[in-house]
């Protein structure tokens, strides 16, 4: 009763209160994002100084380059590496605050321009995979909800396998079957839409398996809840019950896992882009790590951290839209 009264009271104050809540939500997330970005930049800055290895040498092509002392000195002066640590740190933060991510050691071009070229392909791949994963997960849940125990056991077994299979194995098997064996799809993902099919499937299946598992659990809970019985008693058919009443409940834990799904997609993109020879953030990071190109590694880490914060915020918003109950809290 108390809760009903409270929500009624909130509804009166809704226009003002909701706007204020949204402003507060956005302000909180922006502050949180700034903190995360600052922390990631700081962590990486000091980590470089902790590990053995000379940054000047890395700029000139690594320990194998046999750079002369003069060249090393020149590079140190150019990149400000001869300054005191604190000056370098503040300098770095100042440049980041102005949006200057520095110059890639290996590619000799600005990190921002590298990122501008590499973010879109990964964004396309990851968003398509996320959509595909939700379609797969909800589709299987819908199919198995309406069928018997065998179908349920089969689909839950499939989900466990799907969520456990590593990207490199799934991608390799797909290439062997659909590219080498059947010759249906290209083994490398060049710009064409058809080349996207195998990478998207490789990324989507593990996420779908995981979403499917949590979706099924809450779907069964919702189906056993009194409101489902009420809806059926009102004359709602099985598919109407699923789409109009149960899906909302079933989707919630999946939405709460947005941060996790983002991590899986990004980790997967590193492997998948390398496997299918696709350009993108993952491959850029892998090359940067192999060549110890610290500015580029920092740039990719900052972009991913920002993307993570945005994705989690979007997931929270979606959760609020799907489940209006928690909003008075």
């Amino acid at each position: 009763m108390g809760a009903t009264l409270k929500s009624a009271a909130l509804k009166d104050a809704a226009p003002n209160g909701a706007a204020l809540n949204l402003v507060r939500f956005i302000a909180g997330r922006v502050l949180g994002a700034l903190f995360v970005l600052w922390a990631v930049a700081t962590l990486i800055f000091f980590a470089i100084r902790l590990v053995p290895g000379d940054p000047a040498e890395a700029i000139l092509g690594g320990p194998g380059s046999q750079a002369s002392q003069e060249a090393l000195d020149l590079v140190r002066r150019q990149y400000g590496l001869d300054q005191p640590l604190l000056v370098q740190y503040l300098d770095q933060l100042g440049r980041l605050a102005r949006g200057d991510l520095g110059t890639s050691y290996s590619l000799k071009q600005s990190v921002s321009s590298v990122l501008a070229a590499q973010v879109p392909p990964t964004l396309l791949l990851a968003s398509l995979s996320l959509v595909a994963a939700w379609i797969l997960a909800v589709g299987v849940a819908w199919w198995s909800a309406g069928s018997g125990r065998v179908a349920r056991a089969v689909s839950s077994g499939l989900e466990v396998v799907a969520s456990a299979v590593p990207h490199f194995l799934l991608g390799s098997v797909l290439i062997v079957v659909f590219a080498t064996g059947l010759g249906l799809l290209p083994p490398v993902s060049t710009g064409t839409p058809i080349g996207l099919v195998l990478p998207v499937v490789t990324l989507a299946v593990p996420v779908a398996g995981f979403l499917g598992q949590v979706t099924r659990d809450s779907l069964l809970d919702a189906a056993a809840a009194p409101f489902a019985l009420t809806a059926t008693a009102r004359g709602e058919g099985p598919s109407g019950l699923f789409w109009r009443h149960l899906l909302r409940h079933a989707a919630l834990p999946g939405l709460a896992l947005s941060g996790w799904a983002f991590g899986s997609l990004l980790s997967g993109a590193i492997v998948v882009e390398s496997l299918f020879a696709r350009p993108g953030l993952g491959r850029t990071l892998l090359d940067a790590v192999t060549l110890r190109d610290i500015p580029l590694v920092t740039g990719v880490a900052l972009v991913s951290a920002l993307a993570y914060v945005v994705v989690v915020a979007l997931g929270d918003l979606a959760e609020k839209a799907v489940d209006p109950r928690g909003q008075s809290a």
């Binding site: 980590a47 062997v176 941060g259 983002f262 990004l266 790590v289 590694v297």
Partner: protein, 287 residues
Amino acid sequence: MTILPELPVLPAAAPTRAAEWRSRVMAPRVVAGAVLLGVLAAAVAPGLLAPGDPLAVHPVDAFSAPSLAHPFGTDDSGRDLYTRVVHGASASLLIGVAATLIGTLLGLVLGIAAGVGTRLTDAAVSRVLEVLFALPGLLLALVIIAFAGPGPIPATLAVGLATAPGYARIFRTRIRAVRSSEMVEAARVLGRGPLTLLVRHVLPNALAPVVVLATLGVGQAIVWASSLSYLGLGSPPPAPEWGAMLEAGRTYLQIAPWMTVFPGLAIVATAAATTVVGRAFAGAGRR
């Protein structure tokens, strides 16, 4: 990224359901146990299961498809893949276990610091975890390797460090939950001091699932470590380590898929088996 599944509750074994319980719950566990025993045997005494030399080269036999002489086929230098997979068990298992140990220990330290410390330490640790979560999964491992350089030891360390935030968050939540439980309240009313409360009551209850979590984590750690090897950042070839074997097979995926498939299946089977066994532990702990 490790997301440790909610520990499942065992269904009550009603007598009428006994047969179904046996087939649905026990059968996977028996299979998983057998797989795990096989992997352990291969790790401890590889010579018994595969007497050959995993590094012996026979260029004449290069790229042989699986046959009776070579059940898993041969690689680009004609090395027998069955022998290599068997001899690779110890390295892959060791990396997985070591990474999980690093991850859980660090997670314990952070989780206990946040769970039992003052509000300030809790806030500080939680902030650090939040930042680490923004670099999910392989990304954090790759960033660590960017500093530590490639190789099996940095890769193990990277996987361990990258899994630590997940463990830390679980331990922190559990410690907080147990601290505010009625049981601890009762002990406090009985006059127990804060240290006794912590050591005798809070920690044993909050940290009981550490074994289960670690078992579940080993499979994940093996998959991650082999992903790093696959990307060329782990064990260098020609070491018979599963991830390194995958990397060697990458180039020849189209002409010799068995070079990828068999080490890959070994990884998946081991990871899946540790997960099933870990869940069985979890179920046993609940009863």
